[in-house]
């Protein structure tokens, strides 16, 4: 890991350790002091500009560099549009647009978009943390041309039912003010980018769950022994560890080259592997925690709900298995060639 990444990771760790706890997750209000303090610290430390080019005032880091930061944020269960803002600012930076000093959230699920005199109207779906963001970045298509549009939040937010405590909203927008609008470059695949962010986040959340399982089972006693001494429990936790390790290794497809974040095969492999792992980790971690894990008060459920939310976004692992299977079959290569290229 580069030294600059270690430094950033350390800064991020200190801010999240100080400000993020289960109380924040359960009482997430835009006007709460706890949220405002966390937001101020993140914005003022410029953590949302890590991927922004240096000449636009950012840190000039690469997608690869921020993998451990996305992972850390997920380990903390950070319930704010922190990563969404990092990615939005990255996309703006790629279009040579200056980053924002606010929280931005983003979506590529849009319908009925109308642009008229620097105003945008339309329906926007599944926008995470829209209640906590000031601006929205969308990828949308108008007359066969794809655009990236940044606009100010407004209109009525409709809270969606979602697995996670992470709020997701639909928005019916009428004539909201556009801040920037650019044609989307061909190579910029926002969906793959967002999927990969979710795969990294899933890995981070599973690491946290493994930690919770170890801590809980090392403390709680039944039949005169700590739970960790029961072979069945050890078996469950070692299986969780195995799934976590495999998930982490599957992210290898993204490393080394930033273009890998846009590549279909490199995206599909961790999306599928972390999705499979998530299913097992959710079931096993609840099993080892007993009824305690089923309560709102104990933090396990926050992370298992997060996994359920992320593994079902952008198509579940079954959907992506089919894509990957077809991608291979359509290339007319033998499997070994496909794996090695």
């Amino acid at each position: 890991m580069k030294d600059e990444v270690k430094i950033i990771l350390d800064i991020c760790d200190k801010i999240l350790l100080k400000n993020v706890d289960h109380h924040l997750r359960l009482n997430l209000e835009p006007n709460s002091t706890q949220f405002k303090t966390l937001k101020d610290e993140i914005i003022s430390s410029e953590l949302t500009k890590l991927l922004v080019k240096e000449d636009l005032g950012g840190a000039g880091m690469t997608l690869n560099d921020i993998i451990p930061i996305v992972q850390l944020s997920a380990q903390y269960g950070t319930p704010i549009p922190f990563i969404e803002t990092i990615i939005s600012n990255f996309l703006l930076s790629e279009l040579n647009i200056k980053p924002e000093n606010d929280f931005i959230t983003l979506t590529n699920k849009t319908e009925n978009i109308i642009i008229k005199k620097d105003k945008i109207s339309g329906n926007f779906k599944s926008i995470p943390y829209l209640n906590l963001a000031e601006k929205i970045l969308v990828e949308t298509e108008i007359k066969n041309q794809k655009y990236i549009i940044l606009f100010k939040k407004g209109g009525k937010l409709k809270l969606q039912k979602n697995f996670l405590s992470e709020p997701k909203f639909d928005l019916d927008a009428a004539e909201l003010e556009i801040i920037s609008m650019m044609e989307k470059p061909e190579q910029m695949d926002i969906q793959n980018l967002l999927i990969n962010v979710r795969s990294i986040q899933s890995f981070g959340a599973m690491e946290k769950i493994l930690k919770l399982c170890i801590e809980y089972c090392s403390q709680r006693k039944q039949f005169g022994r700590t739970l960790s001494k029961f072979q069945m429990i050890q078996n469950h936790i070692s299986e969780i560890a195995l799934e976590v390790a495999a998930s982490g290794a599957s992210l290898s497809t993204l490393k080394n080259n930033n273009k890998n974040f846009y590549n279909l095969k490199n995206t599909a492999i961790p999306k599928i592997r972390t999705g499979i792992a998530s299913g097992k980790v959710i079931a096993l971690s609840h099993q080892v925690h007993g009824a305690m894990g089923f309560t709102k008060e104990y933090e396990l459920s926050y992370f298992t709900k997060a996994l359920n939310s992320w593994r079902n976004e952008f198509g579940n692992e079954i959907y992506w298995q089919n894509i990957l299977g077809k991608l291979f079959l359509n290339q007319n290569k033998n499997l070994w060639e496909f794996l090695n290229h």
Binding site: I237, A249, S252, I272, N322
Partner: protein, 384 residues
């Protein structure tokens, strides 16, 4: 908070070229020698002539120092060659154990004499090894071995029985884990030592054991008061446990833990490529994702070994995840066959499938059972 790291290692152009070289060599050699690819070939398919050819190519003993006849190549280069041999179903069983783990143990713990005598022969594909760990009463509980090496004026006298010794009937040596002190129940890992035992010595008896597939690849090896010279001791007296743990990491982390039946998958795809249902295609996508992840884990461990790290626990992950993968693979292939009855498959595919189905129970037993792997992981997590 990361518990088990598998650093990303990139396959560079040098390694890619090496892959191509191995592929070309295998194509030519298979054709000219009429070699038939086999599944689980590292266990079932021995061909000393083929092993010698690999030695001539410089593809055995790759990481060993040149002064002992090695090639001073990297573990990543060795990894690439190993993968290509496995996916081709090449007959590698004769030299497999010597090249994978015994040679490394000798390089790490052996005397100058042992290294000079044995390593060049391993590198040339002319010296084969068997593993001397399990015993009739000591399977997963390896520390309970009873084979005893008694000190004599001239060296040692070895008495006991080893079991499941794969390829012992073809091998020249066995690295035997034996007690050199009586068992101390409070410190069961002490008093063990490793010995380099020439299997042609008087008193060594090798009895084949037929497995459920009617093959005789593993054996019972009996040591009846076998006289060993002083220099048969490998490494330090009493440090056998510590030495054997490192050997197990080499044994468990390689791609044979998930590519043993690759040839079945490859043949299946060739035959069913245009007959697959949507469900079959979906299952195939899952296999690709899991297989590629396992490769990244195992490749990363090869790098860790190269960097002199101790990836004992990571090796347990690969072993266990690889075993689970291959067991599921057999079932998945059944599901992917798109309602085409088994009787209608080609005879070669049926044969591979039958072999794999019958052999698969051994995957999660050999090299340490699943239960032992999970125990290792639990211990590392502080649960025991």
């Amino acid at each position: 908070m990361t518990y088990f790291n598998f650093p990303h290692i990139e396959e560079d152009d040098n390694l890619k070229n090496l892959r191509n070289d191995v592929k070309s060599f295998l194509k030519t050699t298979f054709n000219s020698n009429n070699i038939k690819p086999q599944a689980d070939a590292w266990m079932y398919s021995a061909n000393p002539e083929f092993s010698k050819k690999l030695g001539e190519k410089g593809w055995l003993g790759m990481s060993f120092p040149k002064k002992y006849g090695g090639r001073e190549k990297t573990m990543l280069e060795r990894y690439v060659i190993t993968e290509e041999l496995l996916v081709a179903g090449a007959p590698v069983a004769a030299h497999w154990i010597a090249d994978r783990q015994s040679g490394s143990q000798i390089i790490r713990y052996g005397t100058e004499k042992q290294k000079k005598e044995i390593i060049p022969k391993i590198s040339s594909g002319e010296c084969f090894f068997a593993i001397g760990m399990s015993e009739p009463d000591s399977g997963s509980d390896l520390a309970s071995v009873k084979t005893f090496a008694k000190k004599t004026a001239d060296g040692w006298e070895l008495t006991g029985r080893k079991i499941w010794s794969t390829g012992a009937h073809l091998s020249h040596y066995m690295i035997v884990l034996a007690r050199t002190e009586k068992l101390d129940e409070k410190n069961r890992h002490s008093g063990l030592s490793q010995f380099l035992v020439n299997l042609k010595l008087p008193g060594v008896e090798i009895n084949p054991i037929e497995d459920m597939t009617h093959q005789k690849h593993f054996n019972e090896t009996v040591f009846n008061n076998v006289k060993l010279n002083k220099d048969a001791l490998l490494g330090e007296e009493g440090m056998g446990w510590q030495q054997v743990v490192g050997e197990l990491a080499l044994e468990r982390s390689g791609p044979e833990r998930f590519l043993s039946h690759y040839i079945l998958l490859d043949n299946f795809i060739s035959e069913f490529r245009y007959k697959m249902s949507e469900m079959g295609i979906t299952s195939l996508g899952k296999i690709i994702s899991e297989l590629q992840t396992l490769r990244m884990m195992s490749f990363s461990i090869a790098w860790m070994i190269q960097e002199k790290k101790s990836p004992d626990v990571q090796a347990a992950f690969v072993k266990e995840a690889g075993n689970v993968f291959e067991k599921k693979l057999i079932e998945t292939i059944r599901e992917m066959s798109n309602l085409i009855p088994f009787e209608e498959w080609s005879s070669s595919l049926k044969s591979l499938f039958q072999d794999a189905t019958l052999r698969i129970p051994a995957n999660s037993l050999r090299g340490g059972t699943s239960e032992i792997m999970r125990g290792i992981i639990s211990k590392q997590l502080g649960l025991r």
